[in-house]
């Protein structure tokens, strides 16, 4: 049985159809890459899955529970964790940042401190526990963003460009992380522009263009797909839609 089932998902902003009749499924334990040119609607999909935006049509099912109209915090509690493309740390220490999601699940501050510290350790940034995010590098802040999402103990983790803006060394350092997170029990969908990373890590790739899913398959299948190439080169082809 699939963990996530998205059916006919649609979102309009005024006259613009940001996500158009999107359907896909994700199996437990998968690592799925979500790619597409700028403005394809990838982040909107994440916003719809995490409940930040409400969809105009379609349904989202997590496990056997329909979550289409659930409030964002309830979706998080149901098991959807996410990071934001632009990192959004709270104005508190790194440890406290990671304690926030833990405290949404268990009111004990002492326990949350332990949980948060364990997550930081797993992410290899326990030395930053007392630092303020504002004083850290982008790579470090992105790790905090992921740590915070991991502290929600997600069944499904949505990573929005956690590698963007990092230098090649940092990308190389962070790549194994995605697999590691899956080994922690999270199924992963990640948006990424660093193609090498997508090809290396993902088991399946979804390609979006202009709000619609145009291709889906293994990394090698996708790279050889004509529609995908055209989408990236900006050519339009009415037959290129699933």
């Amino acid at each position: 049985m699939s963990l996530l089932k998205v059916k006919n998902l649609t979102k309009r902003f005024g006259g613009l159809v940001a996500v158009n009749d999107l359907s896909f499924e994700v199996s437990p334990g998968e690592i799925v890459g979500l790619i597409g040119p700028n403005g394809a609607g990838k982040t909107t999909v994440f916003n719809l899955l995490s409940g930040i935006h409400s969809c105009d049509a379609g349904s989202v099912t997590l496990g056997d529970r329909e979550i289409t109209h659930l409030a964002p915090h309830r979706r998080s509690l149901a098991g959807i964790g996410r990071t934001f493309q632009v990192v959004r740390p709270f104005e508190m220490t790194v440890l406290e940042n990671v304690m926030v999601p833990a405290l949404a699940r268990n009111k004990s501050v002492a326990k949350a401190r332990e949980t948060a510290f364990a997550v930081l350790k797993m992410m290899g940034i326990e030395n930053l526990a007392d630092a303020l995010p504002g004083n850290l590098t982008l790579a470090q802040r992105k790790r905090i963003e992921v740590a915070r999402a991991m502290a929600t103990k997600p069944r499904l983790l949505l990573l929005d460009e956690v590698l963007a803006g990092l230098n090649p060394t940092e990308v190389a350092e962070n790549l194994p992380l995605i697999r590691q997170l899956r080994d922690q029990g999270a199924t992963i969908i990640f948006i990424e522009h660093v193609m090498a990373a997508v090809m290396k890590v993902s088991e399946r790739v979804l390609v979006m263009a202009q709000g619609a899913l145009i291709c889906c398959g293994t990394p090698s299948e996708v790279t050889n797909d004509e529609c995908v190439i055209k989408a990236y080169l900006g050519e339009e082809d009415p037959e290129c839609s699933l």
């Binding site: 995490s50 409940g51 930040i52 409030a71 964002p72 915090h73 998080s76 509690l77 964790g81 996410r82 934001f84 959004r88 709270f90 104005e91 508190m92 406290e96 304690m99 926030v100 999601p101 405290l103 949404a104 699940r105 009111k107 004990s108 501050v109 949350a112 915070r148 999402a149 502290a151 929600t152």
Partner: protein, 331 residues
């Protein structure tokens, strides 16, 4: 988490304050101290929603509700104010529920406006509902000394009552800030959407914060009316005295921190009394001109409040001392 010597320092001040009425018999001195304690408690209570970034300029509503409820129950129905206190808190909480309805939709400046409007509505109701509130004439508490009537022949009982209230409210805000609710509020203040995406029900957190704040402010209204014997709509629901003043104390001390309200109230109350007494004799309204200027200048030059200047001094010492210990714990 405060360094130990600060705690000792606090305890020492508390003991000294307990002794003040023993050595100073002047009613004026006691009155000023009492007023400082009152404003510490009021500002600290006002500050709870501010943990979550909500700026209320409508706390006079909860204050007035509390004051009126207890006063009406006592004067009209002979209910002891101590029992009336419970009912007053209940009604203040109800007021909190009503004000939190717009809070579901409104954040930031619009919540602030709604809170002002809410107070204005209550003020008008208090003026109009003559059969209950005696209209704009107000309610006088008859002078019948006795513990049961919360009426005393000297200022000392109220001195201790307000001192105890201030200490309790400040400790309570300390507890709240360091609890799950406190974390949720701070997260919501910092980035509401991100907090929700992490599973925090920010609306619930803001609601709870407002309820705590409303209930405590209601209690203060009850104590204040029995301390002052009189209550009329324009005072009870006064924007200046009970909405703006705690906000001013808060911003000057450090909004959204535990100790900011204490610092703000300790500094501003005597200054406010001085200005009210001396400047008003020179020129009516002059002291609010000073307030307006203080507000604008504080926001411009020390937006984090006085605490933001003091904190680096304190925490530097704290870090030097705590560092070796922390490392031991971790390794």
């Amino acid at each position: 988490m405060k360094p130990k010597h600060l705690r000792t320092f606090g305890a020492a001040i508390f003991i000294l304050l307990l002794l003040v009425p023993v050595f100073f018999k002047s009613t004026f001195v006691l009155h000023i101290y009492t007023l400082i304690f009152f404003y510490i408690a009021l500002t600290a209570a006002w500050n709870i929603p501010a943990f979550g970034g909500q700026l209320s300029l409508g706390h006079a509503s909860f204050f007035g509700i509390g004051a009126y409820t207890a006063a009406i129950l006592y004067v009209k129905y002979g209910v002891s104010p101590w029992f009336g206190l419970l009912i007053a808190v209940g009604v203040s909480l109800l007021g909190g529920v009503i004000l939190s309805l717009p809070l579901i939709r409104l954040r930031g400046p619009f919540f602030t406006l709604a809170s002002i409007a809410f107070t204005e509505v209550l003020r008008m109701v208090a003026i109009d509902w003559r059969s209950m509130t005696n209209g704009s004439v107000g309610i006088n508490i008859p002078f019948k000394p006795g513990f049961k009537n919360m009426t005393f022949t000297s200022g000392e009982p109220f001195y201790y009552l307000f001192l105890a209230t201030a200490v309790i409210v400040v400790l309570l805000t300390y507890r709240i800030r360091n609890s799950a609710l406190g974390f949720h509020l701070r997260a919501a203040a910092s980035d509401d959407e991100a907090a929700r995406a992490l599973g925090v029900n920010t609306s619930l957190a803001q609601f709870l914060a407002l309820m705590w704040s409303a209930g405590l402010t209601g209690v203060l209204g009850v104590f204040y009316v029995f301390y002052n014997y009189v209550m009329e709509p324009n005072t009870a629901f006064s924007l200046d005295l009970f909405s703006l003043q705690p906000a001013l104390n808060g911003i000057i001390g450090g909004m959204g921190t535990v100790w900011g309200p204490v610092i703000g109230a300790v500094l501003m109350t005597p200054l406010g009394e001085f200005l009210r007494f001396y400047l008003s004799t020179i020129q009516q309204g002059l002291h609010y001109v000073v307030y307006g200027l203080v507000l604008i200048l504080t926001v411009k030059f020390i937006p984090g409040g006085i605490l933001s200047i003091l904190e680096p001094l304190i925490s530097r010492k704290k870090k030097d001392r705590d560092k070796p210990k922390e490392k031991e714990e971790r390794s």
